[in-house]
Subunit: 415 residues, 2 copies
C-alpha cells in the first residue's frame, strides 16, 4: 500500500493542521474519517474509523527517527467524505489512492480547496443547527498531543465524542506497575513510551439506539532490552432496550473481522470484553459486549496491525445500520428515564473501573476533558430502581447479568 | 446521662424494629431524629442528627459482650418528633428523659402508639404526595446491618438519603493497607473490627439551596495488642451559587461546635476538609467545605465522643436556615443546567476519589445501593463547559479553586 501526498510535521503542527481542516469542515455537511496511519518506509498501513460529521485527522508514524523513532505526519488527502449512512451509491475508497504520489510534498493546505474532498450531498444525520462537533487540538507538555471532537445535544446523537491522541514521554510509575501486573517485563528505571490511539463514544438520543464505544491503540515502551510494542482495543455496544437482531448483527460483524485473522480470536476477545466491561458491585455488564483485547503482539507486527485495522473498519458496518433502523423509533418518558438510569451505570463503570479513565485522570496534567468526553450528557441515579417483571427493561437486565453468545462461536467449516 | 427504656436486640432485630417504626411514621407528617447511641453500663452518650421526615432509628452499643464486645440496642423512646424547621416553639428535648427507666423492658412496639411520639403540627417541607422516604433495613452476611432511607423527587429535596450502619467482621486487606498508610499500627494477620456510622446527603431541588453531606462514624479494630478506636467524620456544603452569608453561617456554626472542645480543631479540620473534598483532575473543590477529620482518638474516648456529638448536633443549625432562606428562590432553566453540571462534579468526586465509596464498593457483598445513595437524582456532563466571565457561576468557581476562610480562624480572645 502506498500513500499519496504526505507531509511531515511535529505533533503540534499535525494537531494544528488537523484542527484547521476541521474548522474548514465544521459546516456540518459531511461525514469524515478519522485515520491513524502507521508508515514504514514507503509501505503504509492504517487504522481508519469513520464518524458521522466532525473533523478529519490523519496521523502517520515514521519509525525511523527521534527518541523512540517516532514522528508525526499528516496525510492531507486521507479524509474521504464518504458518508457511512449514504445508501444506494458505491462506497468511495477511503483513501485517494488515485492521487498517490509519494514524492508530492506541496503544502497540505492546498488540498482543502480541492472539490473532491467535499461531499455535501448526503446527510442522514440531521442535527439541530446549534449542534456541532466542537473540535479541540491539544498538546501535552510532556510530549505529543491530540484532537478531541465532541458533539452535544444533536437530534440523533445526544453526545458523541471522538478522541485521537499521539503521545510520548516517560511512563508514570502507576502505569509501569499496571503493565508489570499484566506480565510485561520492563527492566529499566525510566521507561520512554509512545502511544497512539483513537476512541469514540456515541450516546444517541433515542433510547432504542444503543450506545457504542470503541478504542484502538498502539503502544511502545523502551527498556534496556529494546522496544516492546503491542496493540489493544475493542468495540462494545450498550443497548437500553435489547434487540436480539441488533446484538447478532453487531457481534456477527465483529466476528467476521476477527475470523479473517484467526478463528480463535473472536471467542477469546468476546469473553475478554464481557469480563472487562463489568460493574462488579452490581453484578452486571455495561452492555452486550463486543470484543476487547490488550497486549496483542502476535503473530507479527504487520499481522497484528492488519487485525486491528480490520476491527476498526468493522465499527461502522457493525453500528450504523442499528442507528438507521431505530433512530426514529417511538419512545416516551418512561423509556427516556430508563435510558438515563442506564447512563448512570455507564458513568459508574467509566469512573470506577475503566482502566483508561483511571490511568488518565491520575496522570499529572492529563487533559481531563478529553478523558471524560465519554460520559453521557445526562445521567440519573434512582435508589433501588428495579425493572418490572417480564418488562423489556428486565429482559435487558437478564443479558447484562448473564452474557450470551450472540453468534456461533466458531466459523463454519470451510470444507 | 441515663436512657429511658431500652431493648437489647441483635443487629437484625434492631434494623427490623427501626424499619417498623419508620413504616408507622412513613406518613410524611413529621421530622424524625436519627441517633447512634453508645452505651456504657448505665451511662449513655450519643450522636444525634435530625433529618426532616424519615425514619427513626436508635442503635446502642453495649461494650460488654460478643466478639468485639459489641451488641446492638434500640431505644424506642429516642425519636423526638422535633421538627427542625418548626419555629416559634421551644425545642423539645431529643430524648424522653422523663420516661427514663432503665429497668423498663416492655416491647418497643407499644411505644408506637404513644401520642407524644407523634407531632403532626408542623411541616415546613411540603413534599409532593408521591415523594416519601423509602426505608430499607439490611443485613450484612459478615455481621451487622443498617438502615437506608432515601427520598426522591420531593418538592424541596430532589434526593435525600440517610444511611445508618453498624457492622462488624474482619477487615478486608485493602482496608488494612489503607489504615496502615494512615499510620495505624495493626499487628495481627486477622483484624476483627466494629464500625458504626451515620451519614446523609441532601440534594435540594432549588439551585439556590446548597447540597449538604455529613458523616460521623466510630471505628474499633482489635489486634494482638488490644482494641484501637477512633472517630471520624465531617460536614460539608456544596453550593451551586455562592452566597457568602450562607458560607459564613455554615462555617461559623461548625466552628462554634469545634471551639467548645479545642480552639485548634476548627482550623485544622477546615483545612482537612478543603484538602479531602478535592477533585484533583479539575483543580477544584467539591464545594465550600466545612470540617473533616479522621483518627480522632484524643484526648480521651469520652471527650472525643463529646466532640463528635457536638459536630453532629451542629448539622441541623448549620444547614436548615439555608434551606428555609432559599427554598422558594426564583430560578430558571439556566440555573438548573448549572446545578446539574455541578452535580456531575459531585458524582466525579464520589466515584473517583471518595475513600468511603471506593472502600465500600470494593468490599465483597457491600450494599451498593446504600453506598451510592449519595449520588444525585440527575447529573450532567458537558464537554468544556466554562462559566461566563464575571457571572455568578464564575464567582462560585473562584472559591472552588481557591478555598477561602469564611470565619476568623481563632476564637475571640476570652480575656
Amino acid at each position: 500500500m502506498q500513500v499519496s501526498r504526505f507531509y511531515k510535521y511535529s505533533a503540534r503542527e499535525a494537531a494544528d493542521r488537523a484542527s484547521h481542516r476541521a474548522s474548514l469542515r465544521g459546516d456540518n455537511k459531511r461525514a469524515l474519517t478519522f485515520l491513524i496511519w502507521k508508515w514504514s518506509g514507503r509501505s503504509v498501513s492504517w487504522i481508519s474509523c469513520s464518524v458521522p460529521r466532525g473533523a478529519a485527522c490523519t496521523l502517520l508514524r515514521n519509525p525511523s527517527s527521534t527518541p523512540l523513532n517516532v514522528n508525526f505526519f499528516i496525510a492531507s488527502g486521507a479524509s474521504t467524505g464518504a458518508d457511512p449512512l449514504s445508501e444506494g451509491r458505491s462506497r468511495r475508497p477511503r483513501l485517494h489512492h488515485s492521487r498517490a504520489s509519494a514524492a508530492d510534498r506541496e503544502p497540505a493546505w492546498n488540498d482543502e480547496k480541492e472539490e473532491e474532498d467535499f461531499d455535501f450531498e448526503k446527510q442522514l444525520f440531521i442535527i439541530s443547527p446549534e449542534a456541532k462537533f466542537k473540535v479541540d487540538r491539544w498538546e501535552r507538555e510532556e510530549g505529543g498531543g491530540g484532537i478531541t471532537c465532541v458533539l452535544q445535544d444533536g437530534r440523533v446523537f445526544e453526545k458523541a465524542g471522538v478522541n485521537i491522541s499521539v503521545v510520548s514521554g516517560v511512563l508514570p510509575p502507576q502505569a509501569v506497575q499496571q503493565m508489570r501486573t499484566r506480565g510485561k517485563k520492563l527492566e529499566s528505571a525510566e521507561l520512554p513510551f509512545f502511544a497512539a490511539g483513537v476512541s469514540a463514544v456515541i450516546h444517541p438520543r433515542n433510547p432504542m439506539v444503543p450506545t457504542i464505544h470503541f478504542n484502538y491503540r498502539y503502544f511502545e515502551v523502551k527498556d534496556k532490552n529494546g522496544v516492546q510494542w503491542w496493540f489493544g482495543g475493542g468495540t462494545d455496544l450498550t443497548p437500553y432496550y435489547l434487540n436480539e437482531e441488533d446484538a447478532k448483527h453487531f457481534h456477527g460483524t465483529l466476528k467476521q473481522a476477527c475470523d479473517e485473522h484467526d478463528p480463535s480470536y473472536y471467542a477469546k476477545f468476546k469473553k475478554w470484553c464481557d469480563d472487562y466491561f463489568s460493574i462488579p458491585h452490581r453484578g452486571e455488564r455495561r452492555g452486550v459486549g463486543g470484543i476487547f483485547f490488550d497486549d496483542v503482539d502476535y503473530p507479527s507486527q504487520e499481522k497484528a496491525f492488519n487485525f486491528v485495522t480490520s476491527c476498526a473498519e468493522a465499527v461502522i458496518p457493525s453500528y450504523i445500520p442499528l442507528v438507521k433502523k431505530h433512530k426514529d423509533a417511538a419512545y416516551g418518558y418512561y423509556e427516556r428515564q430508563w435510558q438515563l438510569l442506564r447512563r448512570g451505570r455507564y458513568v459508574e463503570f467509566n469512573l470506577i473501573y475503566d482502566r483508561g479513565t483511571k490511568f488518565g485522570l491520575y496522570t499529572p496534567n492529563a487533559r481531563y476533558e478529553s478523558i471524560l468526553m465519554s460520559l453521557p450528557l445526562n445521567a440519573k441515579w434512582e435508589y433501588m430502581h428495579t425493572p418490572k417483571p417480564d418488562s423489556p427493561e428486565e429482559k435487558l437486565m437478564k443479558v447484562l447479568k448473564e452474557p450470551k453468545d450472540w453468534v456461533p462461536l466458531f466459523a463454519e467449516a470451510k470444507c
